[in-house]
């Protein structure tokens, strides 16, 4: 286990000795965070990242001129 629990269930991210280890530790940390929070909560945070890169692609159908 690459994380350290305290008494309030909060876990702390242990700094990795290498970049790879640090990234791996963050994956454990984030998965723990996901399990402790609702889908709606963690996905809102994930979407801050995704939606900052990927544009909104909602489109209008050429045929019906309605949003699909």
């Amino acid at each position: 286990m690459q994380t350290e629990k305290n008494t309030n269930k909060r876990i702390f991210l242990i700094p990795g000795k290498t970049n790879d280890e640090d990234r791996q530790n963050f994956i454990y940390f984030w998965v723990h965070y996901m399990k402790e929070h609702s889908d709606d909560e963690w996905s809102k945070q994930q979407n801050n990242l995704i939606n900052s890169v990927i544009p909104d692609t909602k489109i209008k159908s050429k045929k019906s001129n309605r949003k699909i």
């Binding site: 994956i27 996905s43 995704i50 890169v53 990927i54 909602k58 489109i59 159908s61 045929k63 699909i68």
Partner: protein
């Protein structure tokens, strides 16, 4: 997130991202014409991995040229375009040759769907044990988690792929079939041998 392994179903009450909206809009059209399975990086992202991607990989079950033409026209009529050709026959030839073709919203190349026919029995097996992900505004079909981990870890193997596999393994570790991962690993290695 609730993974019902026996039912091969995940209930995911997430806020949809722009990528999820794109995936749902594209697959709503594709599934009218062909069986599909979403594979690789987007599977990890959909299930919470903290990264994004400009493309979503998808297998479609091989279909006839006529059926592909119908799929192609339906996509065009709904505002998508093919990045590889505006001629469905050429696009189909690419697919038949084992190449992937990409579709995006017209004049918006990012994000895009990378669509391909499976090349071998390992790829075809992806359709046999796929998982349905139920989202608040629709559903998506993804490859099974054990297959996803095995391909990321033992076939693709890049740092990004290993991290994608690590995320899924850590989240679902109590529900994974590790014998199945090992079996797929062995199959991948047997396919790679000359």
């Amino acid at each position: 997130m609730d993974y019902k392994r026996e039912e091969r179903r995940i209930i995911l009450n997430r806020e949809l991202s722009n990528l999820d909206d794109f995936a749902l809009n594209f697959t709503r059209i594709v599934k009218k014409h062909a069986r599909y399975v979403i594979i690789s990086g987007y599977v990890s992202i959909l299930l919470g991995r903290t990264r994004t991607t400009e493309d979503i990989d998808m297998f479609i079950m091989p279909i006839s040229k006529e059926r592909f033409n119908e799929l192609y026209e339906d996509l065009i009529e709904n505002g998508f375009w093919c990045l590889n050709s505006d001629n469905p026959e050429i696009a189909f030839d690419y697919l038949k040759s084992g190449l992937a073709i990409r579709f995006s919203i017209e004049n918006m190349p990012i994000p895009n769907f990378e669509v391909k026919f499976p090349k071998d029995s390992l790829g075809l097996e992806t359709f046999n044990d796929s998982i349905e992900v139920i989202l608040p505004k629709g559903d998506l079909i993804i490859s099974c988690l054990e297959r996803h981990i095995a391909f990321k870890r033992y076939f693709l193997k890049s740092k990004k792929d290993l991290e994608d596999a690590g995320h899924i393994e850590e989240f679902f570790k109590e529900k994974l079939d590790y014998q199945k991962i090992n079996k797929i690993k062995n199959l991948i290695e047997s396919f790679e041998k000359p």
